[in-house]
Subunit: 379 residues, 2 copies
């Protein structure tokens, strides 16, 4: 297999290292934005060099972002080249369009590393779908937020202090919003749900609440009652479509999610025949992510031309199809919250079962009036 690599950042460098050790994968060109002396002989700043080279059969896209990655991927597919990508923004936004293009051109489009970094998640989801009927996907799909929540349970520490530590360790970005507000995990959930259920949900329509406002007082209150709080993504098949949401979630200390340490992920599907299966591992990082990219190349090399799914007509997002109790901490009660309050913990109230969509809409509005408000679903 003759590969051109688009991008030479953290993941691209890892792909380069892993390919160097192999005789079956030959890395012929690397598209770069600045000089890279260590790969001078194969680096180029022109995508046309790659597109017009008939010896290159596979393009590996690890640039990230939608543009120009999308234009490059489409051009490669149209030129009859296989594409392997780790780009979750691109896959979440354009999955059905790109799959159709790959199909039309008789080439493969694979994106295992787009969800779960080094975890063999999408490839096992694809495998289980061949035989079984999936009812649920989701889990702990963001390592940054799990690192923060895990640390806040290990010892009393403020969110601001532990976020700063995560940034120092390289687990959180300088602008941490995409992680702590739940956009990153929501994106991975959208890709997973669309593959699991053959749907075409848009990531932005999935109701989401992040962990930015959690306090050490909240955590102490949860721990006193045997709960652990994690940011969890959930998508379930329901009668009229898919119920999908992202929210801080209280799980019992005995649940597998409760014991996910540091920046690890635990991603789960449930299917009729095999029941629940979960995948634990590093959801990010240079070599784990690069390994899934190179594994995709090996699958293409082995003749794997099947696609992860065939998106059907857009399914309805039914966020109110599931209801459960919530922990809600807000500076000021309102009549609706009072009407559903069933219990009081130290800093917050416990509600009766509330439809998830309804609570997440309320919480989003409430954040405007009370920027310290925090909620957590109780599983």
């Amino acid at each position: 297999m003759n590969i051109a690599l688009l991008g030479f950042g953290v993941v691209g460098g890892g792909v380069y290292e892993l390919c160097r050790k192999r005789t079956d994968l030959s890395l012929r060109r690397v598209l770069v934005r600045s000089d890279k002396p260590e790969i001078a002989s194969i680096a180029t700043r022109s995508f046309d060099d790659i597109l017009s080279d008939p010896s290159i059969d596979t393009v590996v896209e690890v640039m990230g972002g939608i543009h120009p990655a999308k234009e490059y991927v489409c051009a490669a597919l149209n030129a009859g080249k296989h594409v392997v990508t780790a780009n979750k923004a691109l896959i979440a936004a354009c999955y059905d369009e790109l799959i159709a293009l790959a199909r039309k051109n008789g080439v493969a489009l694979r994106c295992t590393a787009a969800v779960g970094g080094g975890i063999p998640w999408l490839i096992n989801l694809e495998r289980v779908k061949r035989l079984d009927s999936l009812s649920q996907v989701g889990g702990i799909m963001n390592g940054t937020t799990n690192f923060i929540m895990d640390a806040m349970h290990a010892a009393p520490v403020s969110f601001a202090d532990i976020l700063k530590k995560a940034q120092e360790l390289g687990y959180a970005e300088a602008d941490p919003s995409a992680d702590i507000d739940g956009d990153d995990i929501r994106r991975k959930l959208a890709i997973s749900a669309n593959i699991a259920f053959d749907t075409a949900l848009s990531e932005t329509e999935i109701p989401t609440f992040g962990i930015r406002t959690v306090t050490d007082g909240d955590i102490a209150s949860f721990q006193r009652r045997g709960f652990v709080c994690k940011l969890i993504a959930t998508a379930l098949r329901c009668e009229d479509g898919v119920c999908a949401f992202v929210e801080p979630t209280l799980v019992s200390r005995q649940e597998p999610e409760a014991a996910v340490p540091a920046n690890y992920n635990l991603i789960t599907y449930t299917a009729d025949a095999i029941g629940r299966q979960s995948f634990f591992g590093q959801g990010a990082g240079r070599f784990p992510t690069a390994a899934n990219v190179v594994q995709d190349c090996l699958d293409v090399l082995g003749g794997k031309t099947a696609f992860y799914s065939v998106p059907s007509a857009a399914a309805k997002l039914c966020a109110d199809a599931v209801a459960h109790p919530y922990y809600v901490r807000t500076a000021v009660m309102d009549p609706w919250l009072t009407s559903i309050t069933a219990d009081h913990w130290e800093g917050g109230v416990i509600t009766s079962a509330v439809p998830v969509g309804q609570m997440l809409r309320w919480a989003k509005e409430r954040l405007a009036a009370d920027p310290t408000c925090f909620i957590a679903g109780i599983r």
Copy 2:
């Protein structure tokens, strides 16, 4: 694919049900030992009916036991038929011989369901090996013992009482020895280690200590110190070979193994590029196990002819290459145990780091003199 099924028990019935729903897998014959009215039209008591039928391209063996399963599998391979098996006794005992025979005949031999029931364990182990270098495999690989240990941590209960309950629920056999003495998990470890490290370890040489002698007092003592006790299998690549062992193990409450509930399994590998990855799910049961069998058929149908590994010359088992502290409870101290005692808990002593092989040899001998003796490695 035209399939003949050998065996129509718990798993065989599940394979039959899953195949019935598909058009790509046609179940043509079923080898039975007694009349099965529901499959009268395809049942036979003669393996020759299957062997001599050229329309049958794949034999699925779910009889269990080594004889006559081995003779049937060898005959099928020699007749140019693919073989899919869930038979861990057969694979543990004859893996290299059967793989060589499959290779010679240009057919597939797949056995994903032989380890981990419905968990996609061996197939992911095979995948990671294509690219990465494995350093460790193992974990919670027996659901019966995990059910017992989980229940003993949830509420004070004697081993005898919870074993009886597990038998009533169908989680433990009438003769529970193979599960509680560790033979079943040891067998799964041998298969996994041999595939991971291209070795040919014999299951019986792996030092093993089961959970038969654990008491509610032991568990209370562990919990008081933040530990959870699980029966864990471990195989590590070491300088001179493979260090493999099975023993009750104390893990911190924060470890993923600590939160494996009921009869679930959590099986783990560690490799250079991707780090630690674990697989959680049902390690037994009709439909989970049957699903992995049928998935193997789909892989063969899709042209997957590769084998899980190529066993090399027998690797040395080095059980003393790893050392760690132990909890030891025995009615009578002896000079060796006294010489390594570093601490005292309620009912037992804590040792300094002891080579695993040495401790497991000592414990096995000690059981003859003190049948109540219990030990647990401290990770």
